[in-house]
Amino acid sequence: MLKKSLFTILTLSVFLTVFSKPAFAVSSPDFGSCLNPQVTASQVNGGSNHGVAGQTTTYSGTDSIYYLSDGNVMQCLCPDSGTAIQTNWLKTSNLSASDIDVLKSQGWTYVATGSSWGLSDVPYLAKNSNYSCRGENTTPTVQSSVLSLAYTGSAVAIYGLIIAGVTALVAGMLLKKFSK
């Protein structure tokens, strides 16, 4: 009985740890990607004083603003360095306080008013993600040392798991046999 319970608990805990994914009641809308915006930019601003929500750094480069049909905004900042930032601005007017809390736990930053960012004077949630663009100072150099390494993908992890599994299985069977 004890063995059966132990077996079930162990199996369940490992299975749930590996395969379970968090389920969120609130999902953010699709903003699209700065790589291929599906609407025309409302503003394209150059200059050296671009800010990013949740950051104190200012950037020099090109800032493109895309107003989406549902009142949300996609901001694509391509700094001179080429390390670009996409900021998705989600209007909170249709969200409940609990929805906002859930989204905040998913990495969204609450911005009390969009007016200081050139947006409507309503609260927004903002989320940043990185991509690369061709900035003014981008140099398309490649580190040859990196390229010399073969790309192995997930092979090491996969074969490591299988080898560890077979080893544990054989060890367990031998141990069982000799502990009789």
Binding site: T138, L147, I162, G165, V170, K176, S179
Partner: protein, 191 residues
Amino acid sequence: MKTFSYILIIFGLLWCLLGGYYWWLTNNPNRLEFTNYSAPKTKTVTTTKGASLPERISILDLKISLPVYPAQIRDNKWDTITDGASYLSSSPIPGTVGNSIMYAHDWASLFGNLVYAKPGQKVDVSYADGSHKTFVIEYTSKVNPSESSILAPSKDKRMTLYTCTGFMDSQRFVVVALLHDTPTFAAITKP
């Protein structure tokens, strides 16, 4: 001692199962697909005038030089090949207006080095008629397979290249290269 042996056997079985599952994921021909993407019904391969099919793609900075084969999405399954890059034949021919889509596995012999792509690098495409065009990488990004908007049509002449990346190939590394209107070189033909 016996309890410990049972624990080892259980973990051994689970690890083997997990390893087998990930191996299947990695070798699943559909792992390069984007979800929520529906290809246009019309095929541009046979209808586009004045543009021949791409035959080879080269990114010298990344030591990539591969033959290109036309591919389709049949019943939501993306054709994948093991000896070159797949060109989604329902997308525009590279160099014409729109978003041309090419993809390949992240193997060292295919698009394994694509993850090292940097904006500004050049992508050369050779065509069946002997001509070639040079695209310049404009953007790179790591996205989820659900972000199919990167494959949406565009008004510029662009090529979207992608391969798998991330833990257990769970993400896609995307490279967007644009063709700026510069003179292209055609093959020298005898009069």
